[in-house]
Amino acid sequence: MKRRHFVRRRPFTALGAFLLIALLGWIWQERVALWAFPDIISAYTAKEYCSCRYVMNNDAQYCRGYVKQWLPVSGFTDDSAAKRVSVEGLGRSNSAQWLGERQGCRLNP
């Protein structure tokens, strides 16, 4: 009896397995970029809001609109006494700090 090749017996399972392996390979290859990716929205919002508000001296309402992106943020805090901005989004949290007249704002580590 001739054994049929696995791919011919279970074509959809084989295709699914192939795609899963390809996906895992891609995730492994891009693991550093993928891990960093969720930080983008909170880091971007914290840094650019801080500079909009405390470097360009625009009002808070304008700056909230200025940094608005298609991804939502949560936990937005603007401590105007300390000139420190903290933002949460996609499960990550980032903050930016105004440092001085010439240095402007910087994202905290």
Binding site: K47, M56, N57, R102, Q103, G104
Partner: protein
Amino acid sequence: MLKGVSLLFLLLVSLTAQAETWPGEQWSTTPTPGGPALQALEAYAFPPRDDVSRKGVRTDALLVIRDGRLIYERYASPTTVDTPHLTWSISKSLIATVLGVAYAEGRFKLEDPAAKFYPPLAGHPKLTLSDLLHWASGLDWQEDYEYAPLKSSVVAMLYTRGHQDMARFTAEHDEYAPPGQAFRYSSGDSNLLAAALKTIVGPARYADYPWTALFEPLGIRHAVWETDATGTFVASSYAYLTARDLARVGLLMARDGRWGDRQLLPADWVAFNRQPFARYQSHQDEAVPGGHWWLNRDADGAARPWPDAPPDTFAALGHWGQAMYVIPSERLVIVRYGDDRDGSYRHNELLKRVRQAFAGTVQP
């Protein structure tokens, strides 16, 4: 006899200098000519603004200098005459201008290897400062801002993996081409220049150098330049100047690096800024790259990027519509700040209308 000739020469030079107008603490002004050409310019630059959809041309500031005098300026709320506006990638041309002052001090040569001043580039010994100024490092950099966020080197550099030490993040990229052989616009290249400057002028002078070398001599009082956690200027993106102050840098460039009677930038430095990069292929970018400035030149068989502006036009350009155009032949400097989110703004259209409104040959 010789003495007489040199005296006559001095007299001529001082007469020329007197005929030239330079800004002091403030710009001298000259009346804005009205009429349909000005209306057409304003209709293009300042259409009704929609802050919800953020569509269309959204100019924050427009300022025109002719013959060293302020001839036109207009701002759109919340930007004012006092706003140090984010310049985004105009910062790149500013770091080149700061480097030009260090070049005048004789602190480096264009063909020096970048690794001489920034050791993390030791793996790229053939990469020169000239290559970095041409955005031709050969490093495998991805510049996309919003459309490929996962693969974008610039987003990772500014906000995630690279933000603490942007130059080192850049230097860790692989090489895709030998240095100096191919143009690929890279914010990383600009930040490598900022890191090299630290060694070029020495760490003691570095933190104040853009101010002492460039801003203060030009009378710029309120410049902000953000740094990464290592203190390196974010030369790719984060310089902030008022429109009036940025125009001072434009006037310096329009007059070949001279400010009053001081040659701040050597003539050969400005010539390098304005020389097209020979390996640039047409349509690789929106204008022709020179030495960290953008040129309106026909290159590689293609027409000029801005056909309605003269071929000597050059510019510093940034994200979301930031622009400073310099037209030496018409003695014009134009600063345009914006918040364009949909890419509908056209440099050529603005240049055409500004020239129709202001490029008269009338001397003040």
